[in-house]
C-alpha cells in the first residue's frame, strides 16, 4: 500500500483577503500567491489570484474591502516549507500609473480553525533620492522581480547589502487575510 500511494497530508485553505488599511491610497487591488517548499504541491484550487479593484469605504475606518476568496488545497509530506501567502497590493498613483503599494507575506496558519491575520505591508524603496523622485515622477516605482521574494530568504542581502537602499515599512498597512485551515492527515 505504501508503495502504491505514498502518504501525504493535506492542507486545505479557505479564506479571504478581507480588507486593508492604506490610509493614503485608494482604488487598490491585490494579488495573492503562495510560496511553499519542495515537498509541497497544490492539488486543488487556485494558487494565484488577482482581486477586483476596491475603493475606500466612506466611513472613518477608510477600509479597503475586497473579501476576495482564497481556496486552495496542498498536499505535502513535510511541514518544512509550509505555505506562505504572499500578498501584493497595487493601485494607481497620482498620475494614474499602476504602482505597487505594498508587499507582505504570512504563513498559512498552522492550526486548524478560523484565523485572522493582519499583515504589515512594505515596499522597496528607491536606491537614491534622485531615483525616488524620478520613480515618483515617472510612476515607475521599484518593484520586486517576483513578489515571492518577500517570502524567501535568498537574495535579500542583494537588496540590503550593496546599496544603501532598504525596505521601509510603509505606515501600518494591512490587508487582512482571513483563512480557514483544514489539515487532513492520511
Amino acid at each position: 500500500m505504501a508503495t502504491a500511494s505514498p502518504s501525504v497530508f493535506l492542507l486545505m485553505v479557505n479564506g479571504q483577503v478581507e480588507s486593508a488599511q492604506f490610509p493614503e491610497y485608494d482604488d487598490l487591488y491585490c494579488k495573492y500567491c503562495f510560496v511553499y517548499g519542495q515537498d509541497w504541491a497544490p492539488t486543488a484550487g487556485l494558487e494565484e489570484g488577482i482581486s477586483q479593484i476596491t475603493s475606500k469605504s466612506q466611513d472613518v475606518r477608510q477600509a479597503l474591502v475586497w473579501n476576495f476568496p482564497i481556496d486552495v488545497t496542498f498536499k505535502s509530506t513535510n511541514p518544512y516549507g509550509w505555505p506562505q501567502i504572499v500578498l501584493s497590493v497595487y493601485g494607481p498613483d497620482m498620475f494614474g500609473n499602476d504602482v505597487v503599494r505594498g508587499y507582505g507575506a504570512v504563513h498559512v496558519p498552522f492550526s486548524p480553525g478560523r484565523h485572522k491575520r493582519t499583515i504589515p505591508m512594505f515596499v522597496p524603496e528607491s536606491t537614491s533620492k534622485l531615483q525616488k523622485f524620478t520613480s515618483w515622477f515617472m510612476g515607475r516605482r521599484p518593484e520586486y522581480t517576483d513578489p515571492k521574494v518577500v517570502a524567501q530568504g535568498e537574495g535579500r542581502e542583494a537588496i540590503t547589502a550593496p546599496r544603501k537602499a532598504v525596505f521601509s515599512v510603509h505606515g501600518l498597512t494591512s490587508p487582512r487575510a482571513l483563512a480557514l485551515v483544514h489539515i487532513k492527515g492520511t
Partner: protein, 1568 residues
C-alpha cells in the same frame, strides 16, 4: 389555584417587609380589640385578612392593583410579626375543627391528596404572625354564603374565613370612595356570585397549608452563621501568630526584607480578618505578624523602551552619525586597547594649598604651635569619632543582651544555646570594656598633653616676650548634673565589679575543678606510693640487700593547694583605681579645649632682631608645586610667597587630559629663596583616585610630606634637621625635619553626557576586574580596587552583610564562589548545555532514518537530491534505490569504472575532472548565492541627460520609422523560472550548396557498369518528380529536397521541405527547454551540456507500387529521408551568447552515398568564385533563447576578480602593468577581448605568454609527410582537433576559465578552445612557423581562441577545434573579430578601426595598428614558460583500440535496435564487413577524395541494394556523444519492412591515446 396561592405568599411577604415599620397612628380603632384575641390564641395560625380578601377578589391578573389594598388591610396585622413566636405545626389543626368540619372534610381530603403531590412544594413554610379579626365580627360572619371561597384557603385559613370576610366588607366599605371600578364591582353580593362559579372548581385541587414564615431573628441568626463581614479593625498581633510567640521583626534584626507593596491599612485589616476567619492555621502570616508579601515588584522607572513616536523617528534610527576620526594609539601595557573606545580622559587635580608642619624658619613658638595644632587636630578627630562613647554604648547594649538572654521567660531556645550566647556576650563585654578603658585613657592623656603644650607655649611667649603665632587655647568647662553623673559612675563601677566578680568566680570554679582533679590524682598516687612503699618495705625486709629502689618522683607528692576565692573588696579597689585613672571623676567638670587664632602677633618693631630677621627671611621665600604625571611634568602652580603662618594657598585646578591609565601622580614642592634657584623640598605622591571618584564628589585630602634637608639659620628660625632645645640650658634636644601637608583633591572629570572620563583599566588588572565589574559587586558597596577575594569574604562576614538584600546579591555570589572551593571557574564554555535533554532520539537512530538522510542530502545540495520533491513521510515509503545512485557514486569515487567509458584512461581523466570540478565548486560555493539588486528589484535607472534628451527626441520621432531599429529584449534572471518558461528559438534561414542527388544516369554512364539498381532508380526518378521537375531537368539540375530538422533534448522539430541545393526556408522553430532537475538557477543553466543538433535531410519519395498495372489508377509513394549533414551547437554557447546569428558550415560526412556536389551549378554568387570546392555546404541560422536569460556574467567577473586575489607567482610590477594595459584597452575598445593573465589549473594567476613555447608534435605525425610542411601542419591540426572538446564553463559551472598547460591538456584529453589553440600554436612554433594565438569572437563559439600563422605571404587562421584553416579573406571563416594576438614574448592589442579579420592588417610590427604590451618602456623580461620542456608521447595501444572498437560497435548496434522497438532490425553482415574495410582508408585520406572510388567499390559489392549511409567521424571522448551522433542522423527511422542495416566502427589510435573514431552507418533496401 396554584397561582393564587403563590400570590398569597408573595403578598404576605411584602407585607412583612413593607409594613413592619409603618406608622402606628394609622391603626384603626379595632386594633386594640384585635390585639386581644391574638393574646388569647397565640398558637393558632391565623389567616390573614388579605388572603381572604384576595381570594374573594379572585382576580389573579391584577397584582399591582391589589397592592394598595393589602397595604390598607395590613394595618391591623402590623404588630404581628414581631410579637408572635413561631407556631408549631401541630397546633394548627386545632382550630380547624372549630367549624365547618363536617362539610369540608371530604372535599379537603380529596383535594389535598391531589394538590399535595403537585403543589405543596411551592407553598412556603407557615408564617406564624397572623392576626385575627376581632371576635365580635366573627359572629357576624355568614358561613353559608361563602362556602367555595373557603375551600380555596389553606386549612389553617378555614377557621378564620369569617373574620376575613367581615374584614373585607369592612375595608371594602372604606375603599369604596376610591374611583376603582373593579373594587366597586367586587363589592357586594354580585361580586361574590361571580366568584362562586370558580370556587367549585378550585376546591378539588388545593391543599391548604400555613404560609411559611421565618422570623427575622432566625434569619439574622442564620445569616450570622452564614455571612461574615470582615471587620476593619486592626487584628491584634497575637491572633496572627502562634501562641506564645513574640513578633519578630526581621528588619530590626538588620535583615533585608524589601519594600512591601502599598496597600491601604483598612484593606489590609480586612484581608487579615478574612484570612483569620477562613483559615485558622495562620500560614498567611509571617513572623512579624503581617501578611506575607513579596517585595514590591514595581520598579521606580519604566523598563519599556520609549515608544517611537512618528515616522521621522524611524528615519532617525537609520540616520548615520558622524564621528570624528580618532587617532590610533599604539598599544602597550598601559595604553587602552584598540577595542575600547578611545577618547580623551581627564583627571582633575585640585591643589588648594600647602601647610608646613615644620619649616626651617619656624621659631620655637612655631614648633610648639605646630605641635599644639597637631594635637588639637588629633583631639578633634578623636572627638568626632568618639570611640569611647561608642564603646560605652556597646557595652551597655551587650549587658542588656545578657540580661535578656538570662531571662527565663524565653522557653524556645535550649539552655545550651543560651548559655553559649551568653558566654559569647560575656567575653565580648570583657573585650569591649578593655577597649573602652583604653580609649578613655587615651582621651584623657591627649587632653592632658594639649594642656601641657599650651602651658609650655605660654611660658615660651612670656620668656621671649613676643608672640609669633595667633594661637590661643581656651579650656571650656562643661558642668554636668553632678548627682546623675555620680550615679552613673557608681553604677558603672558596680556593673564592672559584678562582672569581674563573676569572671573571677568562674575562674575560681574552674580552678577549683582543676584543683579537685589534681587533688584526686595526687591522692591516688599517694595511695599507690604508700602501697608500694609497703611492698618495698616488705621486700626490703625480705631482701634487705636491694634497698636502693627506684627513687620516688617527689614532685608527685606536692599537694595541690586550693585556689583562693576572690575577694570582692579587692576587686572593687582595683576597679575604682582604674576608673580614677582613666575616667573623669563625677565631680570633675568636662573640659573642652578650643583652639583659636584669636591671639595677636607681636609686630616687628617690638621684636628682637633675630626674630625680625627670621620674619624677613620667611617673607623672601616662596613655594610652588610641580605636577608630575607618570613621572613627567605636566604643569606647575604659580609661585606663592610663604605666609607668616607657613601656609600657602594655591587654589588651582589642573585638568589633565590623558590617554593612558595613570601610573603615578606626584607633586614636587619647590621653594625659592629670593631670586635663587628653586630647591626641591619634597615629593608628594598622590594616590590615583578610584574609578568611583569623580569631580564634585572628591573630598579634599591632605597628604603629608617631609624633607630630609638640613638647614641651619642664623636667626630665630630653628632650622631643619638640626637639633635645638626649648630649654635655656640646651638639654632635651629636639630635631625636626621640614615637613608639611598638601591639601588637594584628585578626581576623574565628568564628560558632557555625564559619563566619567575614566580610561579603561590597564591590562594586567582587566581580567580580574572586569569579572568584578560585570557583577557590579564592588560598586554596589562603594569600594573598589580589591585584590584579595579572601579578604573580601572576610570583610563581608565581619560587616555582616545582609545576604537577603538584592543589592548585595552579586557580592554574595562572588564571595560564595571565592570561598567555596578556591573559586572554581570552569575553563570551558558550553554552548548548548541542555542539548542532551532535548535530543528526542539518539544520533545513531537519527542517522539510520532514511528520511532524515534524504532531507539532509537534499539540503546539502548533493546533485542527486538537489531538487528532490516530496520526500515521503515515512521511512518505509522511501525506496532503497533512491540512495543507490548516490551510494554508487560515493563508492566509485576512487574506483575507476570502465563500463561507461570503456577506455580506462579516459575513465581516469573523467574522474580527475570530476574531482577538480568538485573542489572548484566547493571553493566558490558562496559566490553562487550572490544576487544583485537588479535580480531582486526592478527599478528604473536614473535618467541622465542623454537619456532624457533621447526621450525628448523620441517624442518628435515618427511613430513608424522607415528604418526600424532593433530593440533590446528584456533580460530575465533565471531564478524565478520554471519548466516551460524557456524556449529555444531556431530560425533557419537558408542553406548553400547542399549536396545533390547524383544523377544516376550520368554515373551509370560514367561507370559504364550495368546495375539494376541504378537503372531502376533512373526509371523511378522521372516518374516521381514528374512535370514540375522535369522543367529543371533540362538545366541539368539534379534534384534535392532538403529540409532541416532541429533536435534538442529529444524534442524534434523540422521545417518544410524546400527544393534545390540552395534552399531558403526562413522558418522559425520553437523548442522547449527543460533545465536539469527543474533547477533554473544560473549555475545549473551554465552546466547544461545539451547540444542542439541541426540536421539537414533530403526527402526522397519512392514509389512503392508493386504492380505496374495499378500505375494508372493510384500513386503510392514512400517518403524516405536521407541524412546529409548536421550542425551542432552546444546549449552553453547559446546561453552565453544570448543569440547566435550567422552562416555555419554543415558538417557533411566525407562520403555521402548517392550525393555529390555540383560545382558547375553554383556560380551565381560572387563569393563562390573564391571558395574552393572542397569546402562544404553552409547554412544560415539564427538561434536565441526566449526569454533572454542573463548569463552569470557578473559572477564570472566577480570571481575572476576574486581569483586575482589568489596568490600569484608573477612579479607585482608585471601584474600592475597588466591591469593598466587591460584598463587602457578596455577604455578604447571595450568589446574587444584583451587577455593578459589567465588562471591555471591550480587557481594561480599566470601571465599568458608563458603558455606559448615551441613544443614538439608527435614524431609519428612528422614522419608521414617528411617533406611537405603544409601537409604536416594540417595533420598536426587534425591531431589537435581530435582531442575532445570540453568547455570550461561546463566543467567549472560558469565560475571561471582555467587554462591548463599542454601536457596537462594532453593528459586530461579534454579542454576548450584555449587549450587546443595553445597546443596547436606550440606545435606550429616548433615546426618553425610564425604563429600567434588569436583571441577574438567566432561563431558559434563566442569569445574564443584561434591560431594565426604566416605562410608564404598570407595569413592563415586555424580553428584548433575543428582542424580547419581559413585564409584571411575567407568570407566563411567563423572568426568574426579579432581582439588581440599573443606571441611567446608579447601581446598585441588590436587598435585598428575594424576588427573583422577581412579588414585588418595582421602586421604586428606596426605600433599604430597593434598596441604591444612589452615595448621600449617595458621591455620583455624574459619570462620562463610554464610549459614542459618537451612533450612525451606514448604510442597508443592498438590492441586496446581494437577492443574498444568492437565494444563501441556492439553498443551502437544494441542502441539502434533499442530505437526501433516496433521493427525488426536486421544486420547485413556482408555489408558491415565491407564498410569496415573502407573505414581505414577514410582515415588515411582524412575523408577526402575517396568518394568515387568508394562508391564504385560499394556498388560493385552490393549491387542489388538500394543503399543510403555515411561515415561519421569524431574524436573519442565518451560513448554517449557517439550514440547521440548516430541517433541524430536518423538512420534508424527507416521503417521499410525489408530494410537491413550495416554498422561499422573503426578507431584509429594516435599517440597519447588520442583516438579518431569512424562510424559507418548504412541502411540497405534490397531491390527486387
Amino acid at each position: 389555584m396554584n397561582p393564587r396561592e403563590e400570590k398569597v405568599k408573595i403578598i404576605t411577604e411584602e407585607f412583612i417587609e413593607n409594613d413592619e415599620d409603618a406608622d402606628m397612628g394609622r391603626q384603626n380603632k379595632n386594633s386594640k380589640v384585635r390585639r386581644q384575641p391574638r393574646k388569647k390564641q397565640p398558637p393558632t395560625a391565623v389567616p390573614k385578612e388579605m388572603v381572604s380578601e384576595k381570594s374573594h377578589l379572585g382576580n389573579p391578573q391584577e397584582p399591582v392593583q391589589e397592592e394598595p389594598k393589602t397595604r390598607l388591610l395590613s394595618m391591623t396585622v402590623r404588630r404581628g410579626p414581631r410579637s408572635l413566636p413561631p407556631i408549631p405545626s401541630t397546633s394548627r389543626t386545632g382550630f380547624a375543627e372549630f367549624s365547618m368540619r363536617g362539610r369540608m372534610r371530604e372535599k379537603l381530603q380529596a383535594a389535598r391528596s391531589k394538590a399535595e403531590s403537585a403543589l405543596l412544594q411551592e407553598i412556603p413554610t407557615p408564617r406564624p404572625r397572623r392576626l385575627r379579626s376581632p371576635s365580635k365580627k366573627e359572629l357576624e360572619t355568614e358561613f353559608g354564603t361563602e362556602p367555595g371561597k373557603e375551600v380555596e384557603r389553606t386549612q389553617q385559613e378555614v377557621d378564620s374565613q369569617s373574620y376575613s370576610r367581615v374584614k373585607f366588607h369592612d375595608s371594602a366599605r372604606k375603599i369604596k370612595p376610591k374611583p376603582q371600578d373593579e373594587e366597586e364591582l367586587l363589592n357586594g353580593d354580585d361580586a361574590e356570585d361571580l366568584l362562586l362559579g370558580l370556587d367549585h372548581v378550585a376546591d378539588d385541587f388545593v391543599a391548604v397549608r400555613p404560609a411559611d414564615y421565618e422570623s427575622i431573628h432566625d434569619r439574622l441568626q442564620i445569616e450570622r452563621e452564614m455571612l461574615f463581614i470582615p471587620s476593619r479593625q486592626t487584628v491584634p498581633t497575637y491572633k496572627k501568630l502562634p501562641e506564645n510567640v513574640q513578633p519578630r521583626f526581621l528588619e530590626d534584626e538588620g535583615l533585608y526584607t524589601g519594600v512591601r507593596p502599598e496597600v491601604a491599612r483598612t484593606n489590609q485589616n480586612i484581608m487579615e480578618n478574612r484570612l483569620l476567619m477562613q483559615d485558622p492555621e495562620r500560614r498567611w502570616f509571617g513572623d512579624d505578624g503581617r501578611i506575607l508579601a513579596l517585595p514590591n515588584p514595581i520598579k521606580p522607572f519604566p523598563s519599556r523602551p520609549p515608544v517611537l513616536t512618528q515616522e521621522q523617528s524611524i528615519k532617525a534610527e537609520l540616520e548615520t552619525l558622524y564621528k570624528k576620526a580618532v587617532k590610533y594609539v599604539h598599544s602597550s601595557q598601559h595604553v587602552i586597547r584598540s577595542g575600547d573606545p578611545p577618547g580623551n580622559f581627564q583627571l582633575d587635580i585640585d591643589i588648594s594649598g600647602l601647610i608646613f608642619t615644620h619649616h626651617p624658619c619656624f621659631s620655637r613658638e612655631h614648633v610648639l604651635a605646630a605641635k599644639l595644632a597637631q594635637l588639637y587636630d588629633q583631639y578633634l578627630a578623636r572627638h568626632q569619632r568618639n570611640k569611647a562613647k561608642f564603646l560605652t554604648d556597646k557595652l551597655q547594649a551587650l549587658r542588656n543582651a545578657v540580661q535578656t538572654g538570662l531571662d527565663p521567660e524565653k522557653p524556645h531556645q535550649s539552655l545550651d544555646t543560651i548559655q553559649k550566647t551568653i558566654n559569647e556576650y560575656k567575653s565580648e563585654i570583657r573585650q569591649t570594656r578593655k577597649f573602652r578603658d583604653a580609649e578613655q585613657e587615651k582621651d584623657r592623656t591627649l587632653l592632658k598633653t594639649i594642656i601641657k603644650v599650651w602651658k609650655e607655649m605660654k611660658s615660651l611667649r612670656e620668656f621671649q616676650r613676643f608672640t609669633n603665632t595667633p594661637l590661643k587655647l581656651v579650656l571650656r568647662k562643661e558642668k554636668a548634673d553632678q548627682k546623675a553623673d555620680e550615679e552613673a559612675y557608681e553604677a558603672e563601677i558596680q556593673a564592672e565589679i559584678s562582672e569581674l566578680l563573676e569572671e573571677h568566680t568562674e575562674e575560681y570554679a574552674q580552678k577549683m575543678e582543676e584543683y579537685r582533679t589534681s587533688l584526686h590524682q595526687w591522692k591516688a598516687r599517694r595511695k599507690a606510693q604508700r602501697a608500694k612503699k609497703k611492698k618495698r618495705k616488705q621486700a626490703a625486709e625480705e631482701h634487705p640487700g636491694d634497698e636502693i629502689a627506684e627513687p620516688y618522683p617527689e614532685e608527685d607528692l606536692v599537694k595541690p593547694s586550693p585556689p583562693e576565692p576572690t575577694d570582692r573588696a579587692v576587686i572593687e579597689q582595683e576597679v575604682r583605681e582604674r576608673a580614677a585613672q582613666s575616667r573623669r571623676r563625677p565631680w570633675e567638670p568636662t573640659l573642652v579645649p578650643e583652639l583659636s587664632l584669636a591671639g595677636s602677633v607681636t609686630p616687628n618693631d617690638q621684636c628682637p632682631r633675630a626674630e625680625v630677621w627670621r620674619r624677613e627671611d620667611v617673607k623672601k621665600r616662596s613655594v610652588y608645586l610641580k605636577v608630575l604625571f607618570n613621572n613627567k611634568e605636566v604643569s606647575r602652580t604659580v609661585s606663592r610667597p610663604l605666609g607668616a603662618d607657613f601656609r600657602v594657598h594655591f587654589g588651582q585646578i589642573f585638568n589633565l587630559q590623558i590617554v593612558n591609565w595613570p601610573e603615578s601622580l606626584t607633586l614636587q614642592v619647590y621653594e625659592t629663596i629670593g631670586h635663587s634657584n628653586p630647591t626641591l623640598l619634597a615629593e608628594v605622591f598622590l594616590p590615583i583616585p578610584e574609578t568611583t571618584v569623580v569631580t564634585g564628589r572628591a573630598p579634599t585630602e591632605e597628604v603629608e610630606f617631609s624633607s630630609n634637608q638640613h638647614v641651619t639659620l642664623d636667626h630665630e628660625g630653628v632650622g631643619s634637621g638640626v637639633p635645638f632645645s626649648f630649654e635655656a640650658d640646651g638639654s632635651n634636644q629636639l630635631t625636626l625635619m621640614t615637613s608639611g601637608k598638601v591639601s588637594h583633591s584628585v578626581a576623574w572629570a565628568i564628560g558632557e553626557n555625564g559619563i566619567p572620563l575614566i580610561p579603561p583599566l590597564s591590562q594586567q588588572n582587566i581580567g580580574f576586574r572586569s569579572a568584578l565589574k560585570k557583577a557590579d559587586a564592588i560598586s554596589s558597596i562603594g569600594t573598589s580596587g580589591l585584590t584579595d577575594m579572601k579578604k573580601l569574604a572576610k570583610w563581608a562576614a565581619e560587616s555582616k552583610l545582609d545576604p537577603n538584600d538584592p543589592n548585595n546579591a552579586p557580592l554574595m555570589q562572588l564571595i560564595s564562589v571565592a570561598t567555596s572551593g578556591e573559586s572554581y571557574v570552569p575553563d570551558f564554555f558550553r554552548l548548548e548545555q541542555l542539548q542532551q535533554e532535548f535530543n528526542f532520539v539518539s544520533d545513531q537512530e537519527l542517522n539510520r532514518s532514511k528520511r532524515f538522510r534524504l532531507l539532509h542530502l537534499r539540503s546539502q545540495e548533493v546533485p542527486e537530491f538537489r531538487n528532490y520533491k516530496q520526500v515521503p513521510v515515512y521511512d518505509r515509503e522511501i525506496m532503497e534505490k533512491v540512495f543507490q545512485d548516490y551510494e554508487k557514486r560515493l563508492r566509485d569515487r576512487n574506483v575507476i569504472e570502465t563500463k561507461e567509458h570503456i577506455d580506462t584512461h579516459r575513465a581516469i581523466v573523467a574522474k580527475y575532472l570530476q574531482q577538480v570540478r568538485e573542489s572548484v565548486i566547493n571553493r566558490f560555493l558562496i559566490a553562487k548565492q550572490y544576487f544583485l539588486l537588479a535580480d531582486m528589484i526592478v527599478e528604473e535607472e536614473v535618467p541622465n541627460i542623454s537619456i532624457l534628451g533621447l526621450s525628448l527626441f523620441k517624442l518628435a520621432e515618427q511613430k513608424r520609422p522607415l528604418r526600424p531599429r532593433r530593440k533590446g529584449r528584456k533580460k530575465v534572471t533565471a531564478q524565478n523560472l520554471s519548466d516551460g518558461d524557456i524556449k529555444l528559438l531556431v530560425n533557419i534561414v537558408r542553406a548553400y550548396d547542399i549536396p545533390v542527388r547524383k544523377p544516376a544516369v550520368s554515373k551509370f554512364q560514367q561507370l559504364s557498369r550495368s546495375s539494376r539498381m541504378f537503372s531502376e532508380k533512373h526509371a523511378a526518378s522521372p516518374s516521381t518528380y514528374s512535370p514540375t521537375h522535369n522543367a529543371d531537368y533540362p538545366l541539368g539540375q539534379v534534384l534535392v529536397r532538403p529540409f532541416v530538422e532541429v533536435s534538442f533534448q529529444r524534442t524534434v522539430c523540422h521545417t518544410t521541405t524546400a527544393e534545390g541545393p540552395n534552399p531558403s526556408w526562413n522558418e522559425e522553430l520553437e523548442l522547449p527547454f527543460r533545465a536539469p532537475n527543474g533547477d533554473y538557477s544560473t549555475a545549473s543553466l551554465q552546466s547544461v551540456k545539451d547540444v542542439v543538433f541541426i540536421n539537414i535531410f533530403d526527402e526522397v519519395l519512392h514509389e512503392v507500387l508493386e504492380d505496374d498495372r495499378e500505375r494508372g489508377s493510384g500513386i503510392h509513394t514512400r517518403i524516405e529521408r536521407h541524412w546529409l549533414g548536421c550542425v551542432k551547437i552546444p546549449f552553453s554557447t547559446i546561453y552565453f551568447q544570448a543569440r547566435i546569428d550567422g552562416t555555419f558550415k554543415i558538417d557533411i560526412p566525407p562520403v555521402l552515398l548517392g550525393y555529390s556536389k555540383e560545382q558547375n551549378m553554383i556560380l551565381e554568387r560572387g563569393f563562390d568564385s573564391v571558395r574552393s570546392l572542397s569546402e562544404g555546404s553552409y547554412i544560415t541560422l539564427f538561434i536565441t533563447i526566449e526569454p533572454q536569460l542573463v548569463p552569470g556574467e557578473s559572477i564570472r567577473e566577480k570571481m575572476s576578480n576574486m581569483l586575482k586575489k589568489f596568490e600569484s607567482q608573477e612579479d607585482e610590477k608585471l601584474l600592475q602593468a597588466t591591469e593598466k594595459f587591460q584598463a587602457e584597452c578596455a577604455l578604447k575598445f571595450p568589446n574587444r577581448q584583451c587577455l593578459t593573465t589567465v588562471i591555471d589549473i591550480s587557481g594561480k594567476t599566470v601571465f599568458i605568454t608563458r603558455y606559448l613555447k615551441p613544443l614538439n608534435p608527435p614524431q609519428e605525425l612528422l614522419n608521414v609527410y617528411p617533406n611537405n610542411l603544409q601537409a604536416t601542419a594540417e595533420l598536426v591540426a587534425r591531431y589537435v582537433s581530435l582531442i575532445p572538446f570540453l568547455p570550461d564553463t561546463v566543467s567549472f559551472g560558469g565560475i571561471c576559465d582555467l587554462w591548463s598547460t599542454s601536457d596537462q591538456f594532453l593528459d586530461l584529453l579534454a579542454g576548450d578552445e584555449e587549450e587546443h589553440a595553445v597546443l596547436l600554436c606550440n606545435y606550429f612554433l616548433s615546426l618553425g612557423k610564425k604563429a600567434w594565438l588569436l583571441m577574438g569572437n567566432a561563431i558559434p563559439e563566442g569569445p574564443t581562441a584561434y591560431v594565426l600563422t604566416w605562410e608564404q605571404g598570407r595569413y592563415l587562421i586555424w580553428n584548433p577545434c575543428s582542424g580547419h584553416f581559413y585564409g584571411q579573406f575567407d568570407t566563411f571563416c567563423p572568426l568574426k573579430n579579432v581582439g588581440c594576438l599573443i606571441g611567446p614574448d608579447n601581446i598585441w592589442f588590436n587598435i585598428q578601426r575594424y576588427d573583422s579579420p577581412l579588414r585588418i592588417n595582421f602586421d604586428v610590427t606596426r605600433p599604430k595598428l597593434w598596441k604591444s604590451f612589452f615595448s621600449r618602456s617595458l621591455p620583455y623580461p624574459g619570462l620562463s614558460s610554464v610549459q614542459p620542456e618537451e612533450l612525451i608521447y606514448q604510442r597508443s595501444d592498438k590492441a586496446a583500440a581494437a577492443e574498444l572498437q568492437d565494444r563501441i560497435e556492439k553498443i551502437l548496434k544494441e542502441k539502434i535496435m533499442d530505437w526501433r522497438p516496433r521493427h525488426l532490425t536486421r544486420w547485413n553482415r556482408y555489408c558491415t564487413s565491407t564498410l569496415r574495410h573502407f573505414l581505414p582508408l577514410l582515415e588515411k585520406s582524412q575523408g577526402e577524395d575517396v568518394e568515387d572510388d568508394h562508391r564504385a567499390e560499394l556498388l560493385k559489392q552490393l549491387g542489388d541494394y538500394r543503399f543510403s549511409g555515411f561515415p561519421l567521424h569524431m574524436p573519442y571522448s565518451e560513448v554517449k556523444p557517439l550514440i547521440d551522433a548516430v541517433y541524430s542522423t536518423g538512420v534508424h527511422n527507416i521503417d521499410v519492412p525489408n530494410v537491413e542495416f550495416a554498422l561499422a566502427v573503426y578507431i584509429h589510435p594516435y599517440p597519447k591515446n588520442v583516438l579518431s573514431v569512424w562510424i559507418y552507418v548504412a541502411s540497405l533496401i534490397r531491390n527486387r
